[in-house]
Amino acid sequence: MINSLYIAWHYLVFNKVRSATLVACITLIAFLPMALQLILEESQQLLQSRANSTPLLLGARGSALDLVMSSLYFDDEVPEIISMRAADEITDTGLAYAIPLYIRFQARNKPIVGTSIDYFDFRNLQIAQGRMLAVLGESVIGAGVAEEYGLAPGDSIVSSPDTLFDLAGAYPLKMTVAGILERSHTPDDQAVFVDLKTAWVIEGLGHGHEDLSRTRDSSVILNRSEDSVTANAKLFQYTEITEENMEGFHFHGDASIYPLTALLVVPDDAKAATLLRGRYLENQQYHIVRPTEVIQGLMQNIFRIKRVIDAVIAIVGLATILAIALVFALSVRLRQRELTTIFKLGCSRMTAVKLIAAEIVIIVLAAGIICAGLLYIVDANIETLVRMFILN
């Protein structure tokens, strides 16, 4: 058998292109369904476990899927905005507590999650390095963000402007990295967390500038009366919140109408959850969704598509196997003179069969090894792939 394998190996090496084509065909046919299954299983696990650990979400009436994808997986799609008043309303019910979320901005292509400290307790996120958020202008970053950009506590991260050419839009804010979270293998690893108030500063609802009543630069003053000072556009606004200028940061308007993208609602018990959902059934402004149900619906659709893809792969696979069989059959015919020589040398018919079988074994083995290698790569990058193909 060793001799057969030796001769088969040399034959395959001599016919490189043919051998490589066969290996590639078998590899692809084996790899595609397995990789697809791997990605779908992982995405199901990721999506489902995250959804299962989130009891309820409140958002503006509209797409439940957009709301869940934004609030749980920090998808780029921003759902309809709700106001901070919604959080107070939930608290006032006495049935649950609400964790506000404002996920609209990015820093280095990573989502900035504006929330309250309660979020970290709720998700059981621990600080690996540095410390928790303490004051305005600080951020805590996921392990993935820290690793990707080589950030450590004390470094800074800058929010991306809303639109590049919107000069009147929100200014980028330089935020200090106060701490790095322990890896949780969830979308939290890829996020930049800030206090809600910091997110509102990025939005432009809060800002810091020199005290107008004390400024020495008269060119920034448009109008000054006994009880009012009007500044012009020259007034410099701070782009970083430091200990020195923090006092100068303030918010305008009624805080209860400040924007949120969602509320993570944590009811006291199952009964409270049911009561809450009932109360918001007829609400024209908001709706409460159970992420588990939304994700189950999404997964059903994904698996429906997967079944179609499986059927296509099965047909293509069958066609490929037939084509490979044809290749070998034709190969035997093409090698008729070679086989005749082998018989003339005194070899039995069985030896010829062994030679062809050895070629098939080597090709299948090579395809198997490559397929395993590719699956290993997929497995190692499964989170990125899931994010790339499923979440985004």
Binding site: A87, T91, Y97, A98, I99, P100, S116, I117, D118, D121, R131, M132, L133, A134, V135, L136, E138, A168, A178, D195, K197, H207, H209, L212, S213, L222, N223, D227, S228, V229, T230, A231, N232, A233, L235, M246, E247, F249, H250, F251, H252, G253
Partner: protein
């Protein structure tokens, strides 16, 4: 038999651990002394109340560092005064779930501080950094409502001890009602009697007890500058006060010069931070005795 034995042991351990966790002291952080005092009085041995503001510092303008904010974050409850009290809260990251605004029940009755400068810039339009009067507890009826908010929160957190909390609260309420009635009775003797406050911190006191009060911006330990004396003279022209209410013992020079203007000094401590002697009730009783001097 063996399995049953272990089931019993595990059950006992579970009950013991549950009881232990239910009896664990609640960690309560407060932003000022009155709230800390109320929490201690109501919670008794079931709570561990912390007021991390160093002695001699006004908690309203104190700035904690990150490590103290981290302590607040770790607490079971954070008692807030409301009415914009404790400026540091505007910039701090605290867990919403643990925050208790003790003055929420009367937030519609907050007093806005006048004479603030407004300014305008950018698209946001006219706005002001106007503040709110925050020494809410100097109205003892409001102080009672703040104590009640603390009672309600403690009851929710430790329902097993609710009866004790209610008993403790009843005693505290009695003390606060007694202070309220005593001060009302004193001021009722002459509610038109004009007073000057050395600092604008007595708005709620003035409103609740109908004290005819106008404020200047003086500090007890600092001798006022000439322009401040001039401003006082102007004020006296329309508000013929014979008494000035101070937050703390006034500087001797200030007191003497006031006496020359026929103005006596009395100390009414807001007691925002832990007093050197006594407690909230004893300090307030002392304040009432001081006020009483003006009506004798």
């Amino acid at each position: 038999m063996n399995a049953k034995f272990w089931q019993i042991i595990v059950s006992i351990l579970l009950v013991v651990s549950f009881t232990a966790s239910a009896d664990e002291k609640l960690s309560v952080y407060a932003v000022n002394y009155p709230l800390a005092y109320f929490a201690e009085r109501i919670g008794g041995s079931s709570v561990n109340v912390v007021l991390p503001v160093p002695a001699g510092i006004d908690p309203a303008f104190w700035e904690p560092d990150a490590s103290v904010i981290a302590e607040f974050q770790q607490a079971d409850l954070i008692l807030l005064n409301g009415a914009g009290y404790a400026k540091w809260l505007k910039h701090a990251s605290l867990p919403r779930r643990k925050l208790v605004n003790t003055s929420a029940a009367f937030q519609r009755d907050y007093i806005s501080v006048e004479q603030t400068v407004t300014h305008q810039h950018g698209p946001g339009g006219d706005h002001s950094h106007a503040g709110t009067a925050f020494t809410t507890w100097l109205d003892f009826n409001q102080a009672r409502m703040q104590a009640k908010a603390i009672l309600s929160t403690l009851e929710n957190q430790r329902p097993r001890h609710a009866d004790t909390f209610i008993q403790n609260y009843t005693l505290l309420e009695k003390d606060l009602v007694s202070l309220d009635q005593a001060l009302s009775a004193i001021v009722a003797q002459d509610s038109n009697k004009p007073f000057i406050a050395s600092h604008p911190v007595y708005q709620y006191l003035s409103r609740r007890y109908y004290i005819n009060l106008k404020s200047v911006m003086w500090e007890p330990e600092i001798m006022p500058e000439q322009n401040q004396w001039d401003a006082l003279q102007q004020l006296l022209a329309t508000h013929d006060a014979k008494w000035m209410i101070w937050e703390g013992q006034p500087d001797k020079q200030s007191a003497t010069r006031l006496e020359e203007l026929d103005i006596n000094s009395l100390v009414f401590s807001p007691c925002a931070n832990t007093p050197e002697e006594g407690d909230f009730i004893s300090v307030m009783k002392n304040n009432i005795r001081e006020i009483e001097k003006a009506f004798q």
